[in-house]
């Protein structure tokens, strides 16, 4: 509804191909910035490894693998949060957000590009995290990898939107966890369920449902969050 309103006359290139081209250009820009500066990825990777080390000592000796798998999800969620605080940092630091809004692209394309760029960061960090988890703690199964992929999509879709809200507010980094954590409770329920519980299918289906619903709403409402 809302995104459709934004599409009229806003787009540089027409059609779905043009839209996806805009998204690719914008996401590519973020990835190129990260490739050159290497700000976010090393920080996220170090953070997730440090968190796991803390968990090793926080879990009493003799704790089950199930407890460790639950902890892995806390680590992943907080790492995603750390990455999301940097989502709009390049624009903010260079004062380029207005430039981005004035560029002839649909605003939802900006959101989609941010989601994709954040997904790439998060997926790269999770390769490190899951390897470390497999080495230090417990076996990583196919269900867990599927849960990680589905949970990432949901977290990044919601995260890219609430990060834009946080950027507009005075309290920025302070408010982002408050915005994201209640919204990510269903993701944690689904992801932990898929990792440790029997009946993986229903949890994965639930994660997919979450991704679909929240992506759709975030895609439709992003325009209002960034518009003056």
């Amino acid at each position: 509804m809302s995104a459709a309103a934004g599409m009229s006359g806003r787009r540089g290139r027409g059609g779905l191909v043009g839209y996806l081209g805009d998204v690719a250009t914008l996401a590519g820009k973020d990835l190129r910035i990260e490739w050159r500066a290497r700000d976010t990825f090393p920080a996220m990777a170090l953070f997730v490894l440090s968190t796991m080390t803390i968990f090793h000592f926080a879990l009493p000796s003799g704790s089950s693998d199930r407890a460790a798998q639950g902890m892995l999800w806390v680590a992943i969620l907080f790492t995603a949060l750390l990455g999301l605080t940097r989502t709009y940092a390049p624009e903010r630091e260079q004062g380029m957000f207005d430039g981005l809004l004035l560029s002839p692209v649909d605003r939802s394309a900006i959101w989609l590009a941010k989601v994709l760029a954040t997904l790439v960061f998060l997926a790269a960090v999770e390769v490190v995290a899951l390897l470390a988890f497999w080495l230090f703690f417990a076996h990583v199964g196919g269900a867990m990898i599927a849960a990680v992929v589905l949970a990432d999509i949901g977290l990044c879709a919601v995260g890219a939107l609430v990060a834009a809200m946080a950027t507009a507010s005075r309290s920025r980094e302070l408010i982002l966890p408050l915005l994201l954590l209640p919204l990510s409770v269903p993701v944690v329920v689904g992801a932990v369920g898929a990792s440790v519980d029997t009946g993986t299918g229903k949890y994965l289906a639930f994660l997919a449902l979450y991704d679909a619903i929240f992506s759709l709403i975030a895609w439709g409402t992003f325009e209002y969050v960034v518009a003056e």
């Binding site: 509804m1 809302s2 939107l161 809200m165 507009a168 507010s169 005075r170 309290s171 408010i175 408050l178 915005l179 954590l181 209640p182 919204l183 409770v185 269903p186 329920v189 689904g190 369920g193 229903k202 949890y203 639930f206 449902l209 979450y210 619903i213 929240f214 709403i217 409402t221 209002y224 969050v225 518009a227 003056e228």
Partner: protein, 229 residues
């Protein structure tokens, strides 16, 4: 001025009606509805559940006004959405308190993570508490109104999704009074419940009107002051 004061009639009328209904509801709870098999502690059901349903209703109303704001660009819808969510948060806090008391009486603990309805409500409550932090950390203006509205819309999506998430997990002990077969209670209990529900909704309506009136007056006074100075 007449237009400005118009909601006052409603607020007063609703407040009187709410007082009467609450008095009748309380009397029915203690003198009309029979003592349940669970004992006297079941009486809190007539307050706890209507309060919880009122909280959901006001959150829903807030989201509806948010949608009206984004969709129709109706002036004032943002304020109405904010007031509804404010009332919802108050009733939400009451739900958590009455739910905790009931849990203590019935199961011996103030808080049970196994009690899914209470956990769901905690998530929703935390989510809406952040609404106020978000709203007041953004400069007043169209941007704040838009962001608040989008956040309020996320709330009504989060409620069913969280509900589903919590139902997925097992260990369900919350009593289910309303099933597909209809309400699982005696006629007199159901009547008492409905009166209490009507009482809470009227109370919420009165408080909503009253707060809205105060906030609108505030805005008018600020505008006048700016004109004078």
């Amino acid at each position: 001025m007449k237009k400005l004061l118009a909601p006052l009639d409603n607020a007063v009328g609703l407040a009187v009606l709410a007082t009467v209904l609450i008095a009748v509801g309380t009397a029915m709870t203690f003198f009309y509805a029979p003592v349940d098999v669970d004992g006297l502690n079941q009486k809190i059901f007539y307050f706890h559940v209507p309060i919880a349903l009122t909280a959901y209703a006001t959150f829903g109303w807030g989201a509806w006004k948010a949608l009206v704001h984004l969709w129709k660009k109706k002036p004032g819808a943002d304020l109405e959405s904010y007031v509804a969510i404010h009332q919802g948060t108050i009733f939400g806090a009451l739900t958590l308190i009455t739910g905790s008391i009931w849990a203590k009486l019935r199961w011996g603990h103030w808080w049970l993570w196994g009690e899914k309805e209470l956990v769901l409500f905690l998530i929703i409550f935390l989510f809406y508490c952040t609404y106020f932090m978000l709203r007041y950390s953004i400069e007043a203006g169209p941007r704040r109104a838009n962001i608040s509205a989008v956040y309020a819309l996320f709330g009504v999506i989060l409620i069913p999704i969280s509900f589903l998430a919590i139902r997925l997990a097992t260990n369900y002990i919350h009593p289910v009074a309303f099933t597909k077969q209809g309400p699982q209670m005696a006629g007199s209990q159901f009547a008492t419940f409905m009166v209490c529900l009507a009482a809470m909704w009227t109370l919420a309506g009165a408080l909503y009107r009253l707060e809205l009136l105060g906030k609108r007056l505030d805005l008018k006074i600020r505008e006048l002051r700016e004109l004078v100075l």
